[in-house]
């Protein structure tokens, strides 16, 4: 089966779906269930945006309830019976993993379900395991008039062919807005990288968000000689895992084969893993520019995750563990600028929740 929906960008929406189906009374009709899911997804997204100082969500999420339920059915976590959705035993088990806080097992279950069910999502993961990373250009309006700029942006993907391709592209993008140019370039790149599957730019972005929430992908901002790129790579590997924290996942496919990968799940509560994180942080601090002694936390996160090949969320978990150490090896701070969906601040919940996007070594 292929994912076609752009709406479900985050695996947390499935968790809300599971809770709603289990939490509403057994007589609740399907419309009641789907609207409760939509409502709670909107609340979750709005609360999260507010908490992380991100712009308010634009959509109403009205149709997402139905889509979440359909996906839960695809995963065999729910079934549709007599005008309503009901959780299956597997769905109840997944919900209990969520409610009991058994997140490691929960993540593996969700990754397995996704890879088992969705062919196009699995193909994307496979591609990342094969080629390492994808460089999608970020077009800057001020640079568009620069000679050779388009060729420059295509080079990491097309190498020697970039020049010819750029000439062809230039004819099609005359007078277009920087966003449209960016989409056009990304479309060409995706067509080249995923020559075997057809995938549009918006769907690819939606799937990338989903893969990030499954800890199967990291998307970082990278700069090559002044050119900006959204570089995406998977912290997972197909073989020879570089660290002991990789867990083999064998996903049995309906077609009869098996999809195999090593899932990256570092235990950040472990002292040895924390020590590895500290040395990666030291490396980041030695290579990144500082502002008044502090380092930009999203930049440090990008650097450390790429260096250790760990998911972004694991990095945040690790930083929270380091901050809990007494005395802590880190100090954090907040600068109100530069917070965005891709440059999320660190959220730290103790007595009250606090946000930080600056970090430094004590």
């Amino acid at each position: 089966m292929k994912i076609t929906s752009y709406n479900i960008t985050d695996v947390s929406y499935h968790y809300i779906g599971l809770r709603v189906l289990a939490g509403l009374s057994s007589t609740a009709r399907r419309e009641e269930q789907t609207s409760a899911i939509s409502r709670n997804v909107l609340k979750y997204v709005s609360d999260k945006a507010l908490r992380l100082m991100l712009p308010e969500p634009k959509g109403t999420f009205e149709t997402i309830g139905e889509k979440v339920c359909q996906e839960l059915v695809h995963f065999q976590f729910a079934r549709s019976i007599k005008g309503s959705y009901q959780l299956t035993d597997t769905g109840k088990h997944v919900l209990s993993l969520l409610n009991e806080g058994n997140y490691v097992e929960l993540r593996r279950t969700m990754v397995t379900a996704h890879l088992q069910v969705y062919d196009n999502l699995r193909s994307i993961v496979q591609k990342y395991l094969d080629i390492g990373c994808i460089w999608l250009p970020i077009v800057e309006a001020g640079h568009l008039s620069m000679d050779g700029y388009i060729q420059w942006l295509l080079e990491p993907t097309f190498n020697g062919e970039a020049s010819t391709l750029a000439s062809a592209v230039l004819k099609n993008i005359q007078g277009k807005s920087p966003k449209k140019v960016e989409d056009a370039l990304r479309e060409i790149i995706l067509r080249k990288v995923f020559s075997d599957i057809s995938i549009s730019v918006p769907l690819f972005h939606a799937l990338c968000d989903r893969l990030v929430s499954l800890r199967l992908l990291n998307v970082m901002r990278a700069n090559i000689q002044g050119r900006e790129f959204a570089k995406s790579y998977s912290p997972c590997v197909a073989a020879s895992p570089p660290h002991e924290w990789y867990i083999p996942l064998n996903v049995s496919l309906a077609s009869g084969g098996t999809f195999m990968l090593y899932f990256c799940e570092p235990n950040m509560a472990d002292k040895a893993t924390q020590a590895e994180l500290v040395s990666a942080l030291d490396k980041a601090f030695s290579e990144l520019p500082s502002k008044a002694g502090y380092y930009d936390l999203p930049e440090v996160r990008d650097f450390v995750c790429a260096h250790l090949r760990i998911p972004d969320a694991a990095f945040d978990e690790g930083i929270n563990y380091l901050l809990d150490q007494k005395p802590s090896v880190l100090t954090v701070g907040l600068h109100y600028e530069g917070i965005s969906g891709r440059r999320k601040p660190l959220s730290r919940s103790r007595e009250t929740s606090q946000l930080y996007n600056l970090v430094r070594r004590v």
Partner: protein, 452 residues
Amino acid sequence: MVVLPKRSIGVSKSLYSPLGLKDLPFPTEPVVDPYNNDPRRNGAIYAESPVKREIEKFEQLLIRPNDFPNRVRLSYLWSKGDRESGRGMGKTALLRYFRQRINRDWGQTEFNGQFSAVVVYVAFPSQVDRRYMEQLAWSALVDICKNGVLNDSRAVLRLEALTPEQGDLVLQCPDGSHNPDNLLDDSILQAHGIEITALDKRVAERLTSEGVQPQVSLSLAQGQFREYLCSLRKDGNLEPFYIPRHTKNLDYSRTLLFNDIVHYLRAAGFAGGYLFIDDIENLVDQMTRKDRIEFAKEFCLCTMRPGYANTAYNFFSCVLTTHQQASIGLAQAWGEAGLSTIARLDPNSPNSVELPLPSEDQAREIIIAHLDYHRTNELDKGTVKPFTEDGISALLKRSQHPRDLLSNAAKVILHAIDKKITDVDKTVVNEAMDNSAPPSIPDFSEGIDGAL
């Protein structure tokens, strides 16, 4: 045929007298409304002991009787807990308590008779979606029209415009006592040969010389400030604050509050004041990021930066009640406006007072305060009667969150009355609570981030 409605005749015997109470002692809707006449709703019943430490910190920051000019200009009142449990913790009640403490004699007692001060309370009955700073100022002007400070100030200004002999004559009552109310009674003034129009003119001229705009001076001197505000609107009302396509009132509201009213109050002898801004979330919830930055900058201009009489004389100290969610929304804007350097928007900042969840003993004090207010027998004061010891323990075990606590207590008393029970023990409490289990609205999105 006309049917004449009947007025209530006298007070019938209270339904609650079998429990030793004059009325239901707990609010059925435990949301504080400072303008409500019901003491259960307006915060008049207030147990100080559970928040003793917080009251002390508030006093230390903002009252400072011997160091009033150096009180903080901006502070925050928080309640411990997240978005849900942070509500109904008693922030509004604490503001109401200080407002009542200061405004009952304009700070005479509070500041040992050295000078006067006033509390202006700002709240938003519904969410604000535009002209944020202007609506805030208008809300304060509406409170000023209601809290009595205009009349009392007018009385003192009139007294100062009279000769000492005239003043003594006007104040003196037939029984020899002094009554300041006489200063506002034109007939008494006229009886002593005082020309009212000339007196008002003298007061207005004085106000104008102090910096109040001439037209505003006259309305204040004549006791017509409320009418002046209403005249700025086509509908002739004070509320709602915002009316579409007609915003003349809002165009002037900031100047009126932070210039004219400050000059007026200073002329009347007020050394300063407090601007209590309650439920800031009603103001900020619908703001975009740009709106928030604009609001923070305007707020900073009106309350911190030079330009208004308020800032020139450091007149109003602002106290904002907020919670984590609203503060996160405002944090960036606060930083950009430079307000974070004056008072960090954070429950741990030195300018913050944070209300904790009451302990079991403190929750008991809250219950006793409400019961005592409604006792028929003075001898029962300080006890938990009609609750038995196991009854009150059962009630406190349900929830110590102030809003839930009061709401549960009201349910239990209503249940006891319904069942004609006079001793409210554990069984009664449990029966009442189990029979009235409210339909909960579950939050299915809570705590999901940890799983990601």
